[in-house]
Amino acid sequence: MFYREAGDFKTSYVDDSQTFPIRFDRMRYYAVLVVGFGIIPFVINDYWANAVFVPFLIYAIAAIGLNILTGYCGQVSLGTGGFMAVGAYACYKLMTGFPEVPILIHVLLAGGVTAGVGVLFGLPSLRIKGFYLAVATLAAQFFLVWLFNKVPWFYNHSASGQITAPERTVLGIALTGPNTSAAAKYLFCLCLCVALAWLARNLTRGAMGRRWMAIRDMDIAAEIIGVNPLTAKLSAFAVSSFFIGVAGALFFAVYLGAVEVGEAFGINKSFLVLFMIIIGGLGSIFGSFAGAAFLVLLPVFLKNVLVGGLGWPTDLAAHIELMIVGGLIVVFLIAEPHGLAQLWRVAKEKLRLWPFPH
């Protein structure tokens, strides 16, 4: 009944190759955009922005980035936290070095810097694969965190080693610093997230994405049919690091406002983003969103229910929350090893036939 193709005729190649070929699906997508851009900015408050939407959007960008590398190109990376730190510190240096430039440009440049660093740490991927590559990227994680702790130039010689985002604007609207309105923060992250997700979606279904997937599925076969592993792997590292760098810059400048590299971008962050794409679904843009939502929103939701709703002691709630989230991860992965995206796909198949499955 829903998601049906019957009667949905395509008369041109452009129509046929669009991202959402089924009409209902397309309408749903537009509806989400309308709600996201047209309704939420007017009703959002500081709590919803800072505890729910902004972290969700930022982690979604990071998850899309890692999904490009791991899900589409098959290169396992544990360096996400380190690359986010590169984005954050690049953004900080740019913000403090060139205060008159709009923050949007700094965020994109920070992504560019991270792309360069990502390519550098992607070089070992040309020789090593799988677990061994994961260990090589782990080295990137530890090296980068150590570097930002060790060299005072990166944090402008501040006494505490913290970096703090000063107030910066786009078109006169404050987007970083304490005077930023909730709606401005949210819309800035939403615009970047939608633009980057759109970019990722189109990259992955174009020639470049096909090369990545060929490398993922079997690199020798890909090489034989004419895919250059050097450019394919390094481009995946570059694009993925760009996304992660933008996420890191937003995480620091817009979301937290002040970070300490060891705490904010430690190995836990790498694992968190990796779990997001595993739970959400490898090789799926929707999966990146679903995974980010699962791991960002669920703890906040549980905390509100257990402490705010049921009035439990905070320590008990925090421990139970860990158990529930962990348990749900296990349940979801047993129910569907390919993640939430696959569950969504199966649900769509079922809905297509519902209520007459035979």
Partner: protein
């Protein structure tokens, strides 16, 4: 996902309805009872809650208004700290006390923009003691740089006034918190001619083998420690393992609780730490706490932390906040104060020895008087030493005043840098 969002909305509405009535005085407790910093976070949170419970039960609140203390778990994590701040901000919170230097750094611009005072006794950003720049932040009675200076002064006393040619190692938590004293110690090493060796311990602090190996090789005359949570107990144990003379090992006040030394047993005997206030059960206030809070079954947490160092500190923080609320009520002649009125209370707060005796804590903390420009207090500090046989801390000095000749220019320099970065005009002129 849609289901999650719907449920989330429902939960938020439920949370909003559960918010306290606006007439109450709301003092959120951003605590941490989980994770590697829980050994330090639990006693502090308990002391903080219990003191307000005592005021509510015994005196009916402050100025006739009940104090509500919503607790929010941060796990010493800045992301959760932000969430807690935003979640509690809407319910009319009067003052924040996050007990984390990292979260403090993050909240300084936010509370200044939102106009809510933040009280960070003995932690946070040291230069916030300059009220001319940091209008909403208070860190009296003492801060990290005071602590570093007092530790060096104590060592000077032990060495007949000269540290020339001595080697001092600073073992610090590799975070904003641990890095705070470095600048002061560098200045002091120039002034007194000792060599400073800096050794960082990464979060969460359980892995310190290489640092202690280095200490064994360097053989420093003294080791200072800026540690927190699990790091403290591990460091004391490691020092005992390499048989480092414990009386030459001095922790900051955050590294001097029972939970830090008990795991090392006899080995911890003689370990010293700074102390901002007295400790132990020999204060009249504990009789009231027992009667109104513990025996009434209203104790926070498991109720087993009473009288410990960090419990006392949580109680002290609650005491100062309650006195500031009282002062603000007095200045503005209203029982239901706003955060801006509370700031006036903090700025004009004076705690005398007579008042401390009245509150049941004679000789517990140093008297101090704040002003618009001075948010830092006198900064004098005691030194305490652990007696492993009696299993208790004993004070070995009186209040030692810090070396303001070195500290004042550092505070002015750091706060001026902050004012410049954030375009803040000086107040109180």
């Amino acid at each position: 996902m849609k289901k999650t969002l719907t449920a989330l909305a429902a939960a938020a509405i439920a949370a909003a309805m559960a918010a306290p009535a606006l007439a109450d005085l709301v003092v959120p407790n951003l605590s941490y009872r989980t994770g590697p910093y829980a050994p330090s976070g639990i006693p502090y949170a308990d002391g903080f809650n219990d003191y307000f419970t005592l005021l509510n039960e015994r005196d009916g609140g402050i100025g006739g208004q009940k104090v509500v203390v919503p607790e929010c778990e941060t796990a010493y994590n800045t992301e959760k700290g932000v969430e807690c701040y935003e979640a509690t901000k809407g319910s009319g919170s009067l003052v924040y006390n996050p007990l984390s230097t990292g979260i403090t750094y993050q909240l300084i611009p936010k509370v200044s923009a939102d106009g809510i005072p933040m009280y960070t006794p003995g932690y946070g950003r040291t230069s916030a003691s300059n009220g001319k720049v940091f209008g909403w932040i208070f860190n009296y009675p003492a801060n990290y740089w005071d602590g570093a200076s007092v530790a060096i002064k104590h060592l000077l006393d032990l060495n007949g006034g000269s540290l020339q040619g001595k080697k001092i190692t600073l073992l610090y938590h590799n975070s904003a918190y641990g890095k705070e004293p470095i600048r002061t110690l560098q200045e002091l090493s120039k002034k007194h001619g000792f060599t400073l060796i800096e050794l960082a311990v990464d979060h969460p602090g359980q892995e310190q083998k290489s640092q202690w190996l280095q200490i064994r090789r360097d053989r420093p005359d003294y080791v200072l420690m800026w540690g927190w949570g699990a790091m403290n107990a591990v460091a004391v144990q490691e020092a005992a393992n390499i048989r480092y003379p414990m009386e030459n090992f001095i922790g900051v006040w955050w590294s001097g609780s029972e939970n830090d030394v008990l795991p090392a047993g006899e080995g911890a005997h003689g370990y010293k730490s700074l102390a901002m206030h007295g400790t132990g059960m020999d204060y009249p206030v504990y009789a009231d706490l027992k009667k109104y809070v513990h025996d009434a079954g209203k104790a926070s947490g498991a109720g087993d932390q009473v009288g410990s160092v960090l419990y006392s500190r949580g109680m002290y923080a609650a005491l100062v906040i309650s006195e500031a609320i009282r002062k603000a009520q007095e200045i503005h002649g209203t029982a239901t104060i706003t955060p801006a009125q509370l700031r006036d209370g903090f700025e004009q707060l004076e705690i005398t020895e007579a008042r401390m005796t009245e509150l049941g804590l004679p000789g517990f903390g140093q008297p101090f008087k704040a002003s618009c420009a001075d948010h830092g207090g006198p900064g004098a500090t005691l030194i305490q030493q652990w007696d492993a046989k009696a299993r208790k801390w004993s004070l070995i000095t009186g209040f030692i005043a810090p070396d303001d000749e070195v500290l004042t220019p550092l505070v002015l320099e750091d706060s001026a840098a902050y004012a410049r970065e954030n375009a803040i005009a000086e107040r109180c002129n």
